[in-house]
């Protein structure tokens, strides 16, 4: 399995689980479906970006840093798009950053790097 696909799958799964965790917050429970969908899309985008980075750069440290940065950036964008006065930056960006870190670690450790072209 290549690294981009690993990133996509892991991003999707973690995105769903991350979105479902909103169930524990009664104030937003009625918006659960939208949150899960948004979180999943965010996870998929992060997974693909981090997976492609892992195909290009073979470094565990850089992979984790890039995953953290992408996770935080996308979570920030999601938080900024929240309607109303409360954007929940901390509540959204903290787990988003950790999820990005997990994907960054996984895509560096696992998955096949692209083969060097030969003639």
């Amino acid at each position: 399995m290549n690294k981009a696909l690993i990133g996509l799958l892991l991003g999707g799964i973690l995105g769903v689980l991350d979105g479902l965790s909103a169930w524990f917050t009664p104030a937003v429970r009625n918006q659960l479906l939208g949150i899960v969908l948004g979180s999943t899309v965010k996870g998929l985008i992060a997974g693909v970006l981090i997976g492609f980075f892992a195909r290009k750069v073979n470094s565990l440290a850089l992979g984790i840093v890039f995953g953290l940065a992408v996770g935080l950036l996308l979570a920030y964008a999601v938080a900024a798009m929240q309607p109303g006065p409360n954007h929940y930056y901390f509540e959204i960006m903290l787990p988003g950053g950790i999820v990005g870190t997990i994907i960054g670690y996984a895509t560096q450790r696992f998955g096949e790097a692209p083969q060097t072209a030969t003639r």
Partner: protein
């Protein structure tokens, strides 16, 4: 007469007498590299290919020609063992004085016992050990026992290549003991290992401290497990600095160097697999673990995953219970 010559003059005379007569060959003497029980190894210049190679030649009286036959047999055995971890033989021939010789790649590096001072990392040392096992396993598959494995017979090249040297005591396994292409032959060779014990056919051959007990006893029916024992002693040499050495690694070493050959690893690949499993944080056959041992090893192998997941769960839990008002 000798009282009129200085020690240094005598030494020079001895060196001149030892030096092989290379006239009429394509080689030119550069320097002496080492001296063993029956032969010397010299650095020579191959004048046709313009490169330096190592030349091994008998340097002790060989009345019946038995040593000459052994030297040629040794060259033929090594020539058939084409492996990156075994020094290749380039050429063989007879010098003008009738002594046979063979030339091989000149290896410029450090012996394992000298090299160890440059790396104290246990994982690096175990990776070197695995690369020692490779050519030995290859030789066994081709029906050849080394019989003189020790740190002094392993060279680490300038680019990190690991070479198993000095196959002078190698022995062809009997038919049925190995299935390789050389297995149908049966012969012994004796070579130029300093401090190796060399005696007549069927006697003790090897280096004390690295020989398997059955080899010390002079058993004629040795098999791969004799080399497994010697590899176990090399493993002990490599992990001696690790204090305390991991229990699983000690168990591997103990199994490899069991006094009773039946209790050892049957083959070198089995020994190498256990060491590789240890390096990968997996269970090893020589060290049965209980459930707690297995769990602890699993945690250590997956500690980054566990830390990341715990961090995520902790963050989620904190956010659920400590919500800002």
């Amino acid at each position: 007469m000798t009282r009129y010559l200085s020690d240094s003059a005598l030494e020079r005379l001895r060196e001149a007498a030892d030096a092989p007569d290379l006239s009429g060959t394509r080689y030119r003497l550069v320097e002496k590299l080492g001296q063993g029980g029956m032969g010397g190894v010299f650095c020579v210049e191959d004048t046709e290919l313009e490169r330096r190679v190592a030349l091994k030649v008998i340097s002790v009286p060989d009345g019946e020609g038995a040593l000459s036959a052994r030297l040629l047999q040794e060259a033929r055995v090594i020539a058939k063992l084409e492996h990156p971890g075994i020094v290749p033989v380039h050429d063989a021939g007879v010098m003008p004085d009738g002594r046979p010789y063979y030339t091989m790649k000149l290896v410029q590096g450090k012996r394992l016992d000298e090299y160890l001072g440059t790396t104290t990392n246990l994982s690096d040392r175990l990776r070197i050990f695995l690369r020692i096992c490779d050519p030995v396993a290859f030789a066994h598959a081709h029906g050849v026992l080394h019989r003189d494995l020790k740190p002094a017979n392993v060279m680490i090249g300038p680019f990190g290549e690991v070479l198993v040297m000095d196959w002078g005591l190698s022995k062809m396994l009997q038919s049925g003991e190995a299935t390789g292409p050389l297995a149908s032959q049966n012969s012994e060779t004796a070579g130029a290992t300093p401090s190796s014990m060399q005696t007549a056919h069927g006697s003790v051959l090897g280096t004390p401290g690295y020989m398997a007990p059955e080899q010390v006893r002079g058993d004629t029916k040795l098999d791969q497990r004799a080399d497994v024992y010697s590899l176990g002693t090399i493993l002990q040499f490599l992990i001696a600095d690790a204090s305390p050495a991991p229990k699983a690694l000690v168990a591997i070493r103990q199994k490899a160097t069991a006094t009773d050959a039946a209790e050892r690893y049957l083959t070198v690949p089995e020994l190498a697999a256990d060491v590789a499993h240890f390096l990968d944080g997996m269970s090893v056959s020589a060290y049965p673990e209980g459930p707690f041992g297995r769990a602890w090893r699993w945690i250590r192998r997956n500690q980054v995953w566990i830390l990341l997941l715990l961090a995520y769960l902790l963050a989620r839990t904190l956010l659920i219970f400590w919500r800002p008002r």
